[in-house]
């Protein structure tokens, strides 16, 4: 009987209990795992380190999964400013962290670990929290996702450098050289070999899954031989796998299960390695938390506003970035095992990680409240002037006009209807790209967030006849309903339940995309089901209709094909 079964049973049972307790609260899984680990460690249920070897696989799978999902298309679609913002934020917070680390009496190298913990954010947690915003393609959701992505790339680079066994420049150069070689090998496999393997596997799910694992293990082995971090090996293995093949669903879902299994062990093990915290540990963890919960959001907000985003977008984005990265945890455990960092620093990082991951879900849940507090204390005072300058307003204040919130496809469509019928209309948009588009085609528009008082004043909300909001954002909808105006209000919601509540709260009408579409769809479906023609001729007919519409509109190439859906924001 393996001695590991019992510890493993504890790991999963305690983790599951934590997850079950927390189902009502929107807390991400990672801090719960760490807490489970703390409990297991403190309760002496397992000896520290027994599950370390399995935890190592957890690290490998964590990074591997990131590599597999880092498709080239994502590098291209990272929003234009994210890399600047991410870089500014990492450098600024990192430098502050480094100084703080030194002031705790750490040596320069451990201080770097401290700084990395402060600077990098967790994409696992951040993206889980902001999932809804990302799905609805709201601007701060998009920013959150791309900043996390850039930061994760930073993280892998930092681990590569810090992984050098000695810190002479030669060693780092050698490490980097090997690292580059490994990535070149990965890219060659991706281009020339992987496809062949997929074809040879003859769509056997099991074999494709095993091929993925085999590549991972192979790269890990090479990394080990070259004395590189397993993180580098795992990332290279991830790069060697392309998602561009027919049966990728099987591979991705298989890897997800295995990753979930081993990362749970990893995070629980981390927690179990923490020893009883001393004053020193607590003060270091406190400093880290302060830096992450207060300093980092401020730096992010500043960087985003500087890049031309409105205050609310900047604030909401920063509330998804205020936690410690899982890669900093990988780095911490590597440092601890190699003896590069003291146990106290390790403990501080793990505790601060668990704590900030929980506080992050709190700041996320109350993001609008926090934003209003920041606004009230005058943090964004200087942006008022900016808003006014960027907006283009009519000479005469508008009266009995239509206010359109958001200049996406639906917004622009609404604007064009108003103009055709000679109705005065004003647009408000907070995405810099879309705002430029609005200004180009439409003279009256305001840059900023519709929830901002100054913006509302510029829009002349109190004199408006109709407000049309095109964003399925609940807090925005509620804010609009609470405005003191006699205007009719047409809102947008994701589902019918929310829509009905909004109607009850006073909305004139609520646009639920799926609901509105379903009627026409049901109709088309009945027609298709009872049609005499063959499926293939139906296909060609429907396809022809769509193509004609696209070519007639001449829209492709003007604002890009992905914008063609009418009301994406």
């Amino acid at each position: 009987m393996s001695e590991l079964i019992e510890p493993l049973a504890f790991v999963f049972i305690v983790a599951a209990v934590m997850l079950l307790i927390a189902t009502r609260a929107p807390v991400p899984a990672v801090p719960l795992y760490i807490l489970a680990g703390l409990g297991i460690g403190a309760g002496g249920l397992i000896d520290p380190g027994t599950t370390l070897e399995l935890a190592q696989l957890g690290i490998a799978f964590l990074v591997f999964a990131f590599g597999v999902n880092a498709e080239p298309s994502r590098f291209l679609s990272v929003a234009r400013d994210s890399e600047h913002v991410a870089a500014v934020q990492v450098l600024a917070v990192g430098s502050l962290g480094f100084v703080a680390g030194l002031s705790f009496g750490l040596d320069p190298l451990p201080a770097v670990y401290f700084a990395v913990a402060a600077a990098l954010s967790s994409s696992l947690v951040g993206r889980e929290l902001a999932e809804g915003e990302i799905r609805r393609n709201l601007i701060h959701g998009r920013l959150t996702e791309s900043i996390h992505f850039v930061q994760d790339l930073f993280a892998v680079g930092i681990i590569l450098v810090l992984g050098a066994a000695t810190f002479s420049l030669d060693a780092i150069a050698l490490q980097l050289g090997y690292g580059v070689l490994l990535f070149v090998a990965a890219i060659l496999i991706r281009i020339y070999v992987f496809d062949l393997l997929v074809r040879l596997s003859g769509d056997s799910d099991e074999l494709i899954m095993l091929t993925g694992i085999g590549l991972l293990i192979g790269f890990l082995a090479i990394a080990e031989i070259l004395d590189l971090s397993i993180v580098v090996g795992a990332f290279a293995a991830g790069i060697s796998i392309t998602q561009e093949f027919e049966h990728n669903l099987a591979l991705l879902s298989a890897l997800e299960s295995i990753e979930n299994f081993f990362t749970a062990i990893f995070f629980v093990t981390l927690g179990s390695l923490v020893v009883a915290p001393s004053v020193e540990v607590l003060s270091m963890a406190g400093a880290l938390m302060l830096g992450i919960v207060v300093v980092k959001p401020l730096v992010t907000i500043w960087a985003l506003i500087y890049q031309g985003y409105d205050p609310r977008t900047a604030a909401l984005t920063s509330f998804s970035l205020d936690q410690i990265s899982e890669f900093a945890l990988v780095l911490a455990i590597s440092g601890l095992l190699a003896g590069t960092i003291p146990q106290t620093l390790f403990d501080a990082i793990i505790l601060a990680a668990a704590a900030t991951m929980v506080t992050s879900s709190i700041t996320y849940a109350y993001e609008n409240t926090f934003y209003r507090v920041l606004d009230r204390i005058g943090l964004f005072g200087s942006t008022r002037q900016l808003t006014r300058e960027r907006s283009s307003l009519p000479d005469e204040p508008l009266d009995n006009h239509v206010v359109v919130v958001g200049y996406g496809k639906l917004g622009s469509s609404v604007v064009s209807v108003c103009r055709e019928l000679g109705k005065p209309v004003i647009v408000v948009e907070n995405d810099p790209d879309r705002f430029e588009l609005a200004r180009e085609f439409h003279e009256t528009c305001v840059f900023g967030d519709a929830m901002n008082d100054d913006v509302q004043a510029l829009l002349g909300i109190d004199r408006a006849e109709l407000i049309v909001s095109t964003a399925p954002d609940r807090s925005l909808s509620e804010e609009i309903l609470s405005l003191s105006t006699n205007a009719d209000v047409i809102l947008r919601a994701d589902d019918t339940e929310v829509a009905v509540e909004l109607v009850d709260d006073g909305a004139t009408y609520v646009n639920v995309t799926d609901f509105l579409a379903s009627e026409q769809f049901g109709h088309t479906l009945s027609r298709l089901l009872t049609a005499d023609s063959s499926p293939e001729s139906l296909r060609q007919e429907n396809y022809r209709l769509l193509r004609e519409r696209v070519s007639d509109s001449g829209i492709v190439g003007q604002i890009g094909p992905e914008e063609l859906g009418p009301n994406r924001r």
Binding site: I13, A221, T496, V512, D514, F515, S518, L529
Partner: protein, 615 residues
């Protein structure tokens, strides 16, 4: 490297890499992967290279491999699946176990093994190889055919027998008949205890537990794994084998409605562990041991394959199925299972037999599994070839049971506000409607409706099989994920009508290219409506109010959901009335609903995409 102080175990790396390489080799020659894993162990072990010393990690994974294999087996054990043919299946399984044990005993005894060895061999070689039969039949889409169901039913009953056998073999002492009897009694009491616990859990605890976490993929999976570990730990604490615990954990979960999804989530992990498990069996065999009884193994393999076939044929035929069903059902079951190695390995551990017997069992498993893969693959051809032989078993009294399988039905991938209102139309026009949805509330919500719901992610191949995707005549997807839609298009029958959803025109074009027959773009459809509403608002305010009030009424009834109406009635679907062809709003002549797809007319002013940019 900093983390270099803990390294990925060499033995684990070697096993995985060799298994992948051999996996491809065996796959190309049409062999089951299990044989490749066994050979992996034999190649790396003392028989050939002798480069492996089993470390902690490999030992753990091998053990978990067996545990999870039984967990998965338990998870799949749904009596409902074979209810229609339960009586004949029980008859067949009981007699098959008795007759095949006798045959295996006779063969082994005749070959000169000792009494103890013969007993273990006979006990070990009764089982059919579930993973191979299920896998090859599923690939051929014959799992739900009558012979497939009979085989699966027999295998399920064998599995229960196996768990009992493992528990008994794993017992502490076998010194004299009294202690054996006491041990067996104790095992039965303990197993009954765990069984009662798992039954109560399945009735009262698990449904609530899993409903709590079913919305969160990760938590759902971890809680499932923890359930298995709870039983594994429990049976360890009670001194039972962990397999018993794992099996009962799976069995109790199988009675909860979320099982299919969990099975698919656990399977990849099990596959990985099984690689290590089967390799480790190969690793344990020394060269001499493997080939010590090779002649006996060859003779026994041939004798057992023939004998097992005849026994199964006789038993199925006796239940008055047609000769074809009897033939197909028997030819699938002729191999020696991987469980013979499980039983063998346990017997070696308990010192009932020596390593060479395990080698003998391994050799038999490898040979019979390899051969039977081809037999199952070409079962219909073999039947046609040998048809005259079976003609004498034909009779008018014999007929096959009609099984309910989905055919020419509608598969709906995900229910949302777009697809839900059209379900009644689908049901009326097409017939059976099978919904695949990963939202746990969906299956609750559609409990009392004529629609079947499979809870789980469409990404899993097994789930698509269960929904009979490739036999459906209409496939309707409400997902906007390209991978899902492309999979649906690819796997649907050529004659099926495939309707998918897209979030943009660009993507819609791709989907038409891929072969979709209709792509709905809700954002476009809704955008058109909003433009209409707005036009109305500006031109004729009172008409707008009427329009909107009407619409809000429908919104309310949609939001209230099925609970607001009598379940089971035609109106149990929100918005069902909206599609009642007789309803006014659906009157083809009504202005607002011109059915001639004019609203889609590219030339219509209402949808003038230029309007967006030329302002």
């Amino acid at each position: 490297m900093a983390a270099g102080s803990v390294t990925i175990a060499t033995d684990f790396a070697l096993i995985v890499l060799t298994a992948v390489a051999l996996g491809y080799l065996f796959r190309l020659s049409g062999q089951p992967t299990i044989v490749a894993y066994l050979v992996t162990g034999i190649v790396l072990g003392p028989v050939f290279l002798d480069v492996i010393t089993e470390g902690e990690l490999v030992e753990l994974m091998a053990e978990l491999g067996l545990g999870f294999l039984l967990f998965l087996l338990g998870l799949k054990l749904r009596i409902d699946d074979i209810r229609e043919i339960l009586r004949p299946v029980i008859n067949i399984a009981l007699w098959q176990t008795v007759l095949q044990t006798a045959l295996a005993f006779a063969v082994a005894y005749a070959l000169g093994f000792t009494l103890v060895q013969t007993t273990i061999i006979a006990l070990a070689t009764v089982f059919g190889a579930t993973p191979i039969i299920v896998k090859v039949l599923a690939d051929k889409d014959e799992l739900t055919s009558l012979p497939g169901k009979i085989d699966v039913g027999v295998l399920i009953l064998q599995d229960i027998y196996l768990v009992v056998l493992l528990a008994i073999l794993g017992a502490d002492s076998f010194e004299n008949p009294t202690t054996i009897a006491a041990n067996i009694a104790e095992i039965f009491v303990l197993m009954a205890g765990i069984g009662v616990f798992s039954y109560l859990a399945a009735r009262h605890v698990l449904p609530g537990l899993f409903r709590m976490v079913a919305g969160d993929r990760e938590a759902f999976f971890i809680v499932g794994i923890a359930w298995a570990f709870l039983f594994i730990y429990g049976s360890m604490a009670l001194d039972l084998s962990i397999e018993v615990g794992a099996f009962l954990a799976g069995l109790s979960l199988a009675q909860v409605q979320y099982t299919t999804e969990l099975t698919e989530r656990v399977r990849p992990l099990t596959d990985l562990f099984m690689v290590v498990f089967f390799s480790s069996i190969g690793l344990r065999i020394a060269a001499d041991d493997l080939f010590e009884f090779w002649q006996e193994a060859v003779i026994a393999s041939i004798a057992l394959m023939l004998g097992n076939f005849l026994i199964m044929f006789y038993l199925i035929n006796r239940e008055d199925f047609t000769p074809e069903t009897s033939f197909l059902g028997s030819i699938n079951m002729v191999q020696v299972s991987e469980f013979s190695l499980v039983v063998g390995a346990l017997a070696v551990q308990q010192e009932f037999i020596e390593e060479p017997i395990l080698g003998y069992l391994s050799l038999m498993a490898i040979m019979t599994m390899s051969a039977s893969t081809y037999l199952i693959k070409y079962n219909h051809q073999l039947y046609d070839l040998t048809r005259p032989l079976w003609a004498r078993f034909e009779s008018d009294d014999k007929r096959d049971v009609e099984l309910k399988t989905y055919r020419d039905h509608a598969v709906v991938i995900g229910v949302d506000d777009v697809t839900e209102p059209v379900l009644p139309v689908l049901h009326e026009t097409v017939g059976d409607v099978v919904i695949v949805d990963r939202n746990p509330e969906t299956s609750d919500r559609f409990d009392d409706t004529p629609y079947d719901v499979i809870y789980g992610d469409f990404k899993h191949g097994e789930l698509r099989k269960e929904a009979g995707l490739d036999r459906a005549s209409v496939v309707l997807s409400s997902s906007v994920q390209s991978e899902i839609n492309e999979t649906a298009i690819r796997e649907a029958d050529d004659d099926a009508l495939v309707i998918v959803e897209s979030d943009g025109v660009d993507n819609a074009v791709d989907l038409y290219e891929a072969g979709a027959h209709y792509v709905t773009i809700p954002t476009v459809l809704a955008g058109i409506r909003i433009r209409e509403y707005l036009t109305c608002y500006i031109r004729d305010r009172s008409a707008f109010r009427t329009l909107v009030d009407d619409d809000i009424g429908w919104l309310r009834s949609a939001a209230a959901g099925p609970s607001s109406v009598e379940p089971g009635s035609d109106r149990s679907k929100p918005g069902a009335d909206r599609f009642d062809p007789d309803a006014d709003r659906f009157d083809p002549d009504a202005d607002r609903f011109d059915p001639d797809a004019d609203r889609f007319d590219p030339d219509a002013d209402r949808f003038d995409p230029d309007g967006d940019t030329d302002v």
